[in-house]
């Protein structure tokens, strides 16, 4: 058994693809039509293209409890998904220049430095640098 991927709920797959590739820098891996509304759409890290895939899953559009859960997480400021980075400050500066909005600026707590941003399709995302 292997961990091949994780899914993230998105409100708009095309908008999500643009944000995760053009702003965050991920690379599109799979794009398979499922039905008229949905695609099996995954992205990977450019540094680990054979690594785990992030599935941009349009589940909040079809499954009301998922939408309620996603909205509650957003309102509470909770990032359900996080990505590792080498340098949080540099990534923060880069993303701010691209217009990404942060709810938590780079902050040190314990053995990590982290920041939280809005991915514009329903999620708070945390970036983390281990100290």
């Amino acid at each position: 058994m292997r961990v091949k991927g994780i899914s993230i709920p998105v409100l708009d797959q095309e908008k999500a693809l643009q944000f995760y590739t053009e702003k965050l820098g991920f690379i599109k891996k799979l794009d398979i039509p499922i039905d008229e509304e949905s695609r099996w759409l995954t992205v990977v890290s450019p540094e680990d293209q054979d690594g785990p895939q992030l599935l941009l899953e349009p589940v909040p559009l079809h499954f009301e409890p998922s939408k309620v859960y996603q909205e509650a997480l957003m309102k509470a400021g909770i990032p359900y998904t996080q990505f590792d980075v080498d340098n949080v400050e540099e990534e923060y500066d880069r993303l701010v220049k691209l217009g990404v909005e942060f709810s938590i600026k780079p902050t040190v707590m314990g053995t990590v430095k982290f920041a939280v941003f809005n991915d514009t399709i329903g999620n708070n995302i945390q970036i983390v640098e281990e100290l």
Partner: protein
């Protein structure tokens, strides 16, 4: 302040309130990152931060979730994978990341990566051929 920020503020005072402990484990981790190719052991690491080795072991595991030795092994394997991807030979890689014998390197590599260093090299080679086609 939203719920997440409230929880972070609480944790920073409770779970992460001891700055001396944090400085100690962060210092040890940095030392391992910069010296993973050397002969490191718990005695040496504890002398660097003037802390008993048992206390260091406990602290490191508490904050990083693994022992210094486990962290060192992971670091060496990660660096070994980078070297092998860049075309370094298995023997050179073994010594470049601080292992003293090819046998222990190969055994640990297989345990962590699920293939031998030689198999890993072959896979990298076939991938680079595929991507060039």
């Amino acid at each position: 302040m939203n719920y997440y920020e409230t929880q972070l503020e609480r944790l920073s005072k409770t779970t992460f309130g001891n700055q001396w402990q944090l400085d100690t484990v962060i210092g040890i981790r940095n030392y391992i990152n910069n010296n993973y190719d050397q002969d490191l052991n718990l005695d040496l690491l504890s002398q660097i931060r003037y802390v008993s080795k048992y206390h260091l072991l406990r602290l490191f595991k508490r904050y990083y979730g693994q022992t210094p030795k486990q962290y060192l092994t992971d670091k060496r394997i990660e660096m070994a994978k980078n070297h092998l991807k860049n075309g370094m030979s298995v023997t050179e890689t073994c010594f470049a990341v601080g292992f003293e014998s090819l046998g222990s390197f190969s055994t640990l590599f297989k345990k962590k990566v699920a293939m031998t260093p030689q198999e890993f090299c072959k896979e990298q080679l076939s991938r680079s051929i595929e991507s060039n086609e």
